[in-house]
């Protein structure tokens, strides 16, 4: 009961809630004063069929079916959709599941900003200063609570913070302008590169045509000579040329395979290390069939591993194989190309034995195959293409290669240009930069438009929490934080990072990076909103409103 004990004792009708000097009942906000002007009767605001004596206003008992007779108490706080429903004749729904036209208890907060306090907070014994700095929500002093008026201090602090925020926003917006400028320049640079690449390519293309023609001419003029020197020699030269190309392809393929193998070996090694540690550290008495079965399987696996034969081709051998061919390594193709078509038993002595055997074996079998098919003569060696033809062809190929690489560079730049860097390309300015924060036993890192990572402080290794996919915008509604390091309310950019490392028993990790305006790039906090789904709250000038808008919204708040 929200009365003074004395009044309660006599069961009298309490009028105590009406402030003596004011004619506005407690808790009525400015826009509702008009409903409370008549001091003899009160008509419920949205259920005007119900008229009460004015003494029933704020008597701490809910009489209006819409709750409007209790602007200053919590007595009608159960009239909403969240409370258990009860019949309520006269309300719009006939039940307590209805809407109170009053938004809450009006707290004037003189010296600060007036605000509506939810009715359920009124007279609950808690000073809700963040809403009601004047303490008027606890006028009944239930349980002895005394809420002093703190509006002076709170208002002052609020204004100070507002000022700070405004200034900060301005600075941030300036920074944003800088970022935008940088982004524009970066874009221009890309565009310039594209233009220059296109130009180069065009030049190369015409050069290519030229060389093509030149090559064909030279070849035509040389063909007779070649024919004279013998068909077989010509075939061999062609074959050598083909073989050289083929070997080069195989070499690069081997290179790739080798890299892949190394990656896999690393992973196997890591896994084996984990499992070895697991086997060492697990408690053999552990009463868990799963663990026991896992250890047993590991033991079997490890035992089988020991029996397996090692490949007789060592890494060093492979490295040798991968060296470019030339006079000192691999096959000296020049020997074959020079027209000195003797049957060279290419001296592979520089190779380590296994590799030598390997290469020799290959070369030998190739030669035999070639002879069998009449491609290579058994005895004599005659010349393939002439030096002139060769030079022309090589020149042409060099240009072709150049075109290929330039074209792919161009494609990459063009792709980059169409990539989503946000409005006005702003994130271009942050590309390649990372920010991090620590939370618990981890460091978390956000690399802009790249990936998010969780790094264990205890040395358990890094975990990819997702790779950048796209930028969305979403609504957010959170309380302002005193330090300003929060998402606040409104539409916010969300950078989606997806397809990170898979979770045990779960999906691949992903991270939603929520952005809010701040003066500098800062990773405020990281939470795991659900298993393997992370939320990063990040401040950056990139998320700031532009200056004009910023000052406009600041006005709105006041």
């Amino acid at each position: 009961m929200r009365k003074t004990p004395a009044l309660a004792l006599f069961g009298a009708i309490a009028q105590g809630s009406l402030a003596a000097a004011e004619s506005v009942p407690r808790g009525v906000g400015p826009e509702f004063i008009k409903y409370y002007k008549d001091k003899s009767t009160f008509t419920c605001i949205t259920t005007p069929s119900v008229t009460l004596s004015f003494s029933q206003v704020n008597d701490n008992s809910c009489d209006c079916p819409d709750g409007s007779d209790e602007p200053g108490t919590a007595a009608c706080a159960n009239l909403d959709s969240l409370s258990p429903e009860q019949p309520l004749p006269g309300s719009s729904t006939g039940t307590t599941n209805t809407t109170n036209p009053l938004p809450g208890f009006w707290c004037a907060n003189a010296g600060h900003i007036g605000a509506y306090v939810p009715f359920m907070y009124v007279n609950d014994g808690v000073c809700d200063y963040e809403l009601c700095c004047d303490g008027s929500d606890e006028f009944a002093h239930v349980g002895g609570v005394q809420c002093e008026n703190r509006c002076d201090a709170i208002g002052k602090e609020h204004r100070r913070l507002e000022q700070q925020r405004r200034e900060s926003k301005e600075r941030s917006a300036k920074k944003k302008q800088g970022m935008l400028k940088e982004a524009r320049q970066l874009r221009l640079r890309v565009e310039a590169r594209i233009a220059s690449l296109k130009k180069e390519i065009a030049g190369l293309e015409s050069k290519k045509l030229e060389l093509q023609k030149k090559y064909e001419d030279v070849e035509r003029s040389e063909r007779n000579k070649v024919v004279k020197t013998g068909e077989k020699g010509g075939k061999l030269s062609t074959l050598v040329e083909l073989s050289k190309k083929r070997v080069s392809e195989l070499r690069s393929a081997l290179d790739v395979v080798l890299d892949q193998r190394d990656d896999l070996l690393d992973r196997v090694e890591q896994l084996e290390e984990i499992l070895t540690k697991f086997k060492e550290e697990y408690n053999p008495n552990f009463n868990d069939e799963g663990v026991k079965a896992a250890v047993k399987s590991w033991e079997d696996y490890a035992a089988a591993q020991a029996d397996e034969k090692k490949s007789d081709l060592s890494d060093a051998d492979i490295m040798e194989l991968l060296k470019e061919d030339g006079e000192t390594s691999g096959i000296n193709w020049a020997e074959f190309e020079n027209g000195d078509d003797s049957d060279v038993d290419a001296g592979f002595n520089w190779l380590p034995t296994p590799a030598r055997d390997f290469v020799r074996g290959k070369v030998d079998s190739f030669r035999i195959w070639a002879m069998d098919h009449g491609i290579v003569a058994d005895t004599r060696g005659d010349v393939g293409e002439s030096r002139a033809v060769k030079a022309a062809r090589e020149a042409l190929e060099a240009v072709k290669n150049d075109i290929t690489s330039k074209t792919s560079a161009l494609e990459e730049e063009e792709r980059d240009l169409t990539k989503d860097y946000g409005k006005n390309d702003i994130f271009r300015a942050l590309k390649g930069k990372c920010i991090s924060t620590e939370a618990g036993e981890y460091d978390y890192e956000l690399c802009w438009i790249d990936r998010t990572t969780q790094k264990s402080k205890k040395g358990h290794g890094n975990t990819n929490m997702g790779n950048f996919v796209r930028i969305d915008t979403e609504m957010v509604d959170e309380e302002e934080r005193a330090d300003g390091k929060g998402l606040g309310k409104g539409m916010r950019m969300v950078l989606r990072y997806e397809n990170g490392q898979g979770c045990w028993n779960g999906p691949q990790r992903r991270t939603d990076v929520w952005l809010a305006c701040a003066e500098t790039e800062e990773l405020w906090r990281v939470t795991e909103s659900e298993k393997c789904v992370y939320k990063m709250e990040v401040g950056t000038p990139a998320a700031c409103e532009d200056i004009q808008e910023a000052s406009a919204s600041a006005k709105d708040e006041l």
Binding site: P89, L275, N285, F286, E289, V291, S456, R509, E528
Partner: protein
């Protein structure tokens, strides 16, 4: 565990391995094989075989006889000797027997063994264990009601039997037959409970081990494997038939299970007895089991269990439903019920215990039956060690049973008031920020809650009493934010203490010798959450005192007045122990073997914590709140319990109701199941329905496994958020009535939620119902929906009273003994108000129960169908925090609405002179709290047009406004009196 990159434990390695090689199945199934079946537990197998033999024999005579001349009866107590004949030569062992008749009308039969009592036995393996049968269970369990009934008298005595009349008006009678020994407990001349009627009494006497040449070891292996085909009943039969005389000694001296060997230094020592409930078809109790309230038969057959009910407190990970398997706690109290009669027994034994239940129309002894042939229930109780110690209750009402049982074992402690609000838990709230954020969100969505919980990850690497420095650098800030809205934090503190250097707690535990010892007398080391750990021996008074000191605010830094404690894993759970618990040959304080005290272990631990919370700061004396997973009879005096690690499926939701009801009728009603289900991810419908059920659990907590998705109640979007809010607020508005129900539980052991047989002991159709219940004395009848996609329920109506829908005041067209179908779409909790009751609410939604403290009350009167029957109800309120209520600082009102006399009155429930109570601070403040409104559902039609009522209180008379709404479209007429203007603590009367 923090964010998911933290695959730090072995589970991570395991996960990686399973990803690597899919050669073994993922181990997520129920680990039934980790726990013993009867045939794997030596004494259970022996006693079952003994029973098979006895019941199959054409003429079986129990080898136990009372030595007629050795007995004497004095002051309500018979003391004598039972002789057990142990061989054909007629050799006997002496078993001292005491039969006590207590003032409460309860009888107690205690059988000991003289040789062990006198220590005239030899232990093997140089064991330091005590030689006696464990005789201290009563020190832990029994707190009163042991006064002997001096009025009990011998009615008849001769060489063959002794008859004692006892109990209220000497209506009870015990006929003690000497040869063979049996006892027939009668009420009003009729047999109700018989001991050893089937001749299954078995006290395994001490004998030295005689090493025989070439003893077959096969049986041992079978028991060891755990994966052996369980269908061995044929085998048992064969054995008993082949060698009926020779006992199977294979499990006498050593037993292995799951790679652990029990050395059994005292040899076989089980006690067993058959207890028959004559003419009773239903037996209830012996929680905790995930099965129906009315216990099933356990000897096979259609719909029956194959295994006896087991009580051996264990960490049963992902437990299965509809099973007699043991769970986390046990109360060996069983009641039998038939139309208009309840009787029961309490088997006071803390060792591993199994109970077989069979029901049959034919009694072996036709004399035992009353006039007509009825179904009787035969139970066979088997415990591994200790005394045979049984209390017998002869009712006749279910209420008498719980009252007499809790007179012995104690009643529910008056809880901290916040503890009956809503608890928000998760394994784990990972940081202070996380906690604060959840706290803010609950407010933002206007959902009331009282407590947020911190599971093991708050601790510094599972070193309890120390906070994780990274995630919880300033725990007091967090506590203060919560405290500002009257909210609390519960932290988990388990009995395993991390065995690691530079951890002062374990260093002290070791240096002071407060740990449980292994069989060799060295500190026991096992494995639990922290890895290698030691266990507090809470049987040791000095250890308890030390434990209490750890909770002082200046010792457990980062805690304050709003910190309370959760005791988990106190079965105890030992990951590498047999059946995930301690080896039975471990030693506790006083050199008692763990086998003797196992089921008490959890209770000693939470008792220690309870006492710790009583003394955290000099001069502070507030009610503790402790949640325990493991429990025993008596745990209700100190703790609340939850039903352990359930799963997020509809089956577990449905199972939670009978489980909580079973707790209620077994003296430990402060119970609930994890809302949402611990393991897995509930879909939104399931979670919503679970909140609707949880709002009717005496203990109301949502909890989730660390791998489960976040599921705080505000996360689910509409319509779920609104529906869940309504369930939370329903609970909060009814808190005054829930608290009143706790008061009754505290006074007389009443359940908080009551099954039909309890409230309507004459209505046979309701005896087996365990999915609907009444709340306290409110007359609120709930039947929550526990099935997927179900949008209606059938409620069985036990009587001819009026029933109104709680939310609409609709008059439900009911008839006694009939079911009525109610619509129950997702947003609806089927909840009826029974005519003839009055209950109290607080209708203003607040953020926590603490913030409702000074709100006015709403009284709801559900008028009886018959105008001559008054509606009655009561309201108990105290400060919800201190022990001042023990000094009379409480308000307990009785409300009576007399439609005929047109009055509603409030008087002191106990007839105290309210002026005589000297008001303390809280009572003075309560002078400002009154009755805001009275709602009379089913108001007389004659009130139409009435606008005012007269109110009298404290020597004054005034008028209050009344609004009458006539009946329409199935809705009852109802009247609302607003602004009564009376104090809740005062006498008052309203005249209509």
């Amino acid at each position: 565990m923090h964010l998911s990159g933290s695959l730090s434990s072995w589970t991570a390695y395991l996960g990686l391995l399973s990803a690597l090689s899919a050669t073994f199945a993922p181990a997520v199934a129920v680990k039934e094989h980790d726990f013993k079946k009867c045939h794997q537990s030596g004494f259970c197998a022996r006693n079952r075989a003994f029973a098979d033999h006895a019941l199959a024999a054409s003429s079986w005579e129990s080898p136990y006889n009372i030595l007629a001349d050795a007995g004497s009866f004095k002051d309500g107590q018979y003391q004598g000797v039972v002789l057990k004949t142990i061989n054909d030569a007629g050799e006997t062992v002496r078993l001292p027997i005491t039969i006590s008749f207590l003032e409460s009308g309860t009888a107690r039969v205690t059988v000991d063994e003289e040789k062990r009592q006198k220590g005239e036995i030899e232990l093997r393996h140089n064991s330091k264990a005590r030689k006696e049968r464990y005789n201290e269970a009563e020190n832990w369990v029994i707190v009163g009601g042991l006064a002997l009934d001096k009025a009990a008298k011998v009615e008849q005595e001769d060489k063959t039997q002794l008859t004692v009349k006892y109990g209220p008006s000497s209506k009870f009678e015990a006929v003690i037959k000497f040869s063979p020994f049996s006892i027939d407990f009668k009420r009003d001349g009729q047999s109700h409970i018989k001991f050893n009627e089937q001749g299954l009494l078995n006290v395994e006497h001490w004998r030295p081990k005689v090493d025989k040449p070439a003893e077959p070891e096969k049986e041992d292996d079978a028991a060891d494997s755990g994966n052996e085909d369980e269908n061995n009943e044929g085998k048992e039969d064969k054995e008993t038939k082949e060698e009926p005389k020779k006992e199977d000694e294979s499990t006498w001296w050593e037993e292995s299970f799951g790679g652990n060997t029990d050395t059994k230094p005292r040899g076989p020592e089980s006690v067993a007895l058959d207890i028959s409930f004559i003419g009773y078809e239903h037996v209830f109790g012996i929680p905790s089991h995930a099965g129906p309230l009315s216990l099933k038969q356990t000897r096979g057959g259609d719909g029956n269990y194959q295994e006896p009910y087991r009580m051996y407190n264990a960490d049963v990970f992902e437990y299965i439903l509809d099973s007699p398997m043991t769970l986390y706690g046990s109360i060996p109290f069983m009641q039998a019920h038939r139309k208009d009669s309840s009787v029961g027994v309490f088997w006071l034994n803390a060792a591993e215990t199994w109970v077989d239940i069979t029901k049959g129309k034919d009694a072996k002894n036709p004399m035992a039956l009353g006039v007509k042939s009825k179904t009787s229930t035969h139970t066979h109780w088997m415990s591994e060690s200790g005394l045979l110690d049984v209390f017998v209750f002869l009712g006749p009402t279910p209420k008498d049973l719980t009252a007499k049982f809790t007179e012995l074992t104690g009643t529910t402690a008056m809880p901290q008031e916040f503890a009956i609000g809503y608890h928000q838990c998760r394994w784990n709230y990972i940081s202070e920020d996380d906690v604060k954020e959840v706290d803010r969100k609950m407010d933002k969505f206007k959902m009331p809650y009282d407590v947020i919980w911190l599971d093991i990850e708050y601790s510094d690497d599972k070193k309890y009493f120390a906070w994780d420095k990274h995630s919880f650098p300033n725990p007091l800030d967090m506590h203060k934010q919560l405290d500002s809205r009257g909210r609390k934090i519960v932290t988990i503190n388990d009995p395993h203490i991390k065995n690691v250097d530079n951890y002062p707690v374990v260093q002290e535990l070791k240096s002071k010798g407060f740990g449980v010892l292994n069989k060799d007398g060295n500190i026991f080391e096992g494995w639990c959450w922290p890895g290698s750990s030691h266990w507090l021996d809470a049987f040791n008074p000095a250890a308890r005192e030390w434990w209490a000191s750890l909770f002082n605010y200046d010792k457990f830094k980062g805690t304050m007045e709003n910190t309370f404690i959760w005791n988990d894993m106190n079965e105890p759970s030992v990951f590498n122990g047999p059946e995930t618990t301690m080896p039975k040959d471990n030693l506790h304080h006083g050199n008692w073997e763990h086998r003797d005290v196992h089921n008490l272990n959890g209770m000693t631990f939470h008792n220690a914590t309870y006492h710790a919370l009583l003394s955290r700061k000099p001069g502070e004396l507030r009610r503790p709140f402790v949640l325990t997973r493991s429990f025993f009879a008596g745990s209700q005096r100190a703790a609340a319990m939850w039903t352990g690690d359930n799963q997020a499926d509809w089956g577990h939701l449905a199972a939670s109701i009978p489980m909580v009801l079973s707790q209620g009728i077994s003296g430990f009603p402060f119970s609930g199941a994890d809302v949402g289900g611990f393991f897995g991810n509930p879909d939104k419908d399931l979670l919503t329905r679970w909140y609707q059920v949880g709002a009717f659990n005496p203990f109301f907590r949502a909890h989730a496994h660390i791998d489960a998705r976040r599921r705080e109640p505000y996360l689910h979007g509409e319509p779920y958020t609104t529906i869940i809010s309504a369930a939370l607020r329903l609970r909060y508005s009814l808190l005054p009535s829930w608290y009143t129900a706790f008061r009754h539980a505290h006074l007389d052991g009443s359940p908080i939620i009551k099954p039909m047989f309890y409230t309507h002991p004459s209505e046979e159709a309701g005896f087996a119902l365990d999915d609907q219940f009444f709340v306290g004395t409110t007359g609120l009848l709930a039947k929550p929906v526990v099935e997927k996609d179900k949008t209606s329920v059938d409620i069985w109506i036990p009587d001819g009273e009026a029933y109104y829908d709680y939310f609409t005041y609709d008059v439900i067209p009911t008839a006694k003994g009939k079911t009525v179908t109610l619509d129950a779409p997702l947003e609806k909790i089927p909840l009826l108000m029974r005519g003839g009751h009055i209950f109290a609410r607080r209708d203003i939604p607040r953020r926590s129960s603490a913030l409702m403290k000074w709100d006015d009350y709403t009284l709801v009167v559900a008028a009886s169908k018959d105008a001559k029957t008054p509606a009655e109800g009561d309201l108990y309120v105290d400060d919800g925090d201190s022990f001042d209520f023990q000094q009379g600082q409480y308000i307990h009102r009785r409300f009576v609405f007399d439609a005929a006399a047109k009055t509603l009155s409030s008087v002191d429930y106990e007839g105290r002179d309210s002026e005589a109570v000297k008001e303390g601070e809280w009572m003075k403040k309560m002078r400002s709290v009154g009755v805001d409104k009275v709602i009379i559902v089913g108001a007389p039609a004659s009130w139409a047009g009435k606008k005012t009522v007269t109110v009298e209180s404290e020597g004054k008379t005034w008028e209050a406004k009344m609004e009458f709404t006539p009946a329409e479209k199935g809705r009852a007429a109802f009247a609302v009196v607003r602004k009564l203007g009376v104090r809740i603590g005062a006498d008052w009367k309203v005249v209509f």
